[in-house]
């Protein structure tokens, strides 16, 4: 079975532009989370979606938005890009939310560089 896939692998944008990152979860997984990992730091939670509804949001500005589609894939959108948005964006999927400890499986990430 395919793992979590993300596209594109790398992306270069300029300040003020908009970007869309895509994630396909593992088959059967209905929950997708997005994390931002700035170089040299641990990942920071951005969003969680489950059954197409937002279930959690981290401390990120409204320039960040996301959605989940009926096939459970997800998009992360960032508007008005800033230099500080340069980071590795990780997508993680799991069967469902909840403290059952069901594992979050991570994708390989999208490396976004803002010039």
């Amino acid at each position: 079975d395919a793992g979590v896939t993300q596209s594109p692998t790398h992306l270069i944008k300029t300040r003020g532009q908009h970007v869309t990152l895509r994630c396909s979860p593992i088959s059967g997984h209905k929950s997708v989370s997005w994390y931002q990992q700035v170089l040299g730091q641990g990942p920071q939670f951005i969003f969680q979606y489950y059954e197409k509804e937002e279930r959690g949001r981290g401390n990120f500005p409204d320039r960040f938005s996301a959605r989940q589609f009926p096939n459970y894939s997800s998009e992360l959108n960032v508007n008005a890009l800033l230099l500080g948005d340069s980071a590795l964006y990780l997508c993680a999927s799991r069967l469902r939310p909840g403290l059952g400890g069901n594992e979050q499986f991570f994708g390989p990430g999208t490396r976004l560089t803002v010039l």
Partner: protein, 113 residues
């Protein structure tokens, strides 16, 4: 708010030796899970081991084991018989409720042949 602290930015160990990575955390939750993730240069975050807070017995996975001290809010990772393939960034994380993993800053582990 939950926080996770990894006080060792870098560690190195000789191949076949044992190394311990430190992690402390803070949470007001009574029920939570703790994790160690490995991130090699390929960037893929891989789960190494997890610990349920309500279990007193320390988790083990082959060469990887943890020392979980709930009262001290400490969660260290021991890697035995270190191998070259263990070289990576290691992140300690705690899951808050049903939502998000909270990660530490990471420890870069180097294996010397």
């Amino acid at each position: 708010a939950q926080t996770v602290t990894q006080s060792q930015p870098e560690m190195s160990v000789q191949e076949a030796e044992t190394v311990t990575l430190s992690c402390t955390y803070d949470t007001s939750e009574s029920d939570y899970y703790l994790f160690w993730y490995k991130q090699p240069p390929s960037r893929q975050m891989i789960l190494v081991i997890r610990q349920e807070a309500y279990k007193q017995q320390n988790a083990t996975e082959n060469r990887f084991s943890v020392n979980f001290q709930k009262a001290a809010k400490s969660f260290s990772l021991k890697i035995s018989d270190s191998q070259l393939g263990d070289a990576a960034m290691y992140f300690c994380a705690v899951i808050q409720g049903a939502q998000k993993l909270v990660f530490g800053q990471g420890t870069r582990l180097t294996i010397n042949p």
